[in-house]
Symmetry: C2
Subunit: 194 residues, 2 copies
């Protein structure tokens, strides 16, 4: 039996990403966002939804660029902090001792301490309602050398991203490997053929 929870923006799980941009004075700024994800393969693109009230909203509109930084579970406290304060009032990266790196591809900074970063150029802006959805073309994905295996494959176990559960209000780690993608489902094909 299912219970109706009402019309709300609730789904499990949501990712936790840190959005990098340059502020009004050209200073590096970051904020945490859970409402973001890949939205196209050609061109490779990612969407990020932000309220107009955020400092980052103005920054992206002005510079037409942003980065998406994937924090690992070891820096969950810092990522939570980036979502609680505003870059209008302080240098959040300095507050936690993180290092902004100027992207050579887009007009936005990325975070050295994040194992995976996406450098994005704004290509579309959609007004949905309270949130604006920014669509960024992914110009490059950069990954820490230590997060790659010997074949150059980027492993979940090395990036160690974490998740947020809206109604539950907690962050969760990624757990164990469950199954192979585009492969484990073949068991159903085999069963059908019998």
């Amino acid at each position: 039996m299912k219970r109706s929870m009402g019309a709300k923006s609730l789904i499990y799980p949501t990712p936790v990403f840190v959005i990098g941009s340059y502020g009004e004075k050209g200073e590096p700024n970051v904020m945490t966002a859970a409402w973001a994800g890949i939205c196209c393969s050609k061109p490779p693109a990612i969407s990020v939804s932000l309220r107009k009230a955020t400092y980052t909203h103005g920054n992206i509109t002005r510079r037409k660029a942003f980065t998406v930084n994937v924090p690992s579970d070891g820096i969950v406290v810092q990522a939570d902090y980036f979502g609680m304060t505003t870059g209008r009032e302080e240098d959040k990266l300095a507050a936690v001792g993180f290092t902004p790196v100027r992207s050579e591809l887009v007009d936005a900074p990325y975070i050295e301490e994040c194992a995976m970063v996406l450098e994005c150029k704004l290509i579309q802006t959609h007004e949905i309602g309270l949130h604006t959805q920014f669509i960024g073309e992914i110009m490059d994905v950069k990954v820490d050398e230590e997060a790659l295996d010997k074949d150059g494959i980027c492993r979940m176990s090395k990036i160690r991203p974490f998740l947020y559960a809206p109604d539950d209000h907690n962050y969760y780690s990624v757990g164990k490997m469950l199954a192979r993608g585009f492969d484990s489902g073949k068991a159903i094909e085999r069963k059908k053929r019998k």
Copy 2:
């Protein structure tokens, strides 16, 4: 040191959702999608990116509605299967023995066997490139009674969603609770004040 992976649609983690829609003959159809997530709070809305070639793309365009179903880690094989075959050729729900339920709110079916389902009315359609992004207003979120605790809070540990890692090609479970959201970051505020 970071290594450049190139301009590609790669980020960790991505969620695994199953999109429900009615097909050309009114039959219930489902497909698995990882490129989806909440995009607005007012109105509550979710975006789902699909290639034009998918059967679901035409279904959503025609019926102006879809559901987003969250599979638990116990049905990872079925979810993988829903992403490997097309509803043009077979009834995927019947193939795995799952039950479509007609939504009373939108013109799309949801899956009884998924612990969390969102019923969505199409409000915007954006052409990004190879993928079309459908924006659905969330008319209701329905959750299995067993996934709620005594206070009516929906717990990650009871929904047990799982994740997909694109480059790695594996599904992963959700792991342990790491920290409280909008709370653990206060430790940095306290440290600054010292």
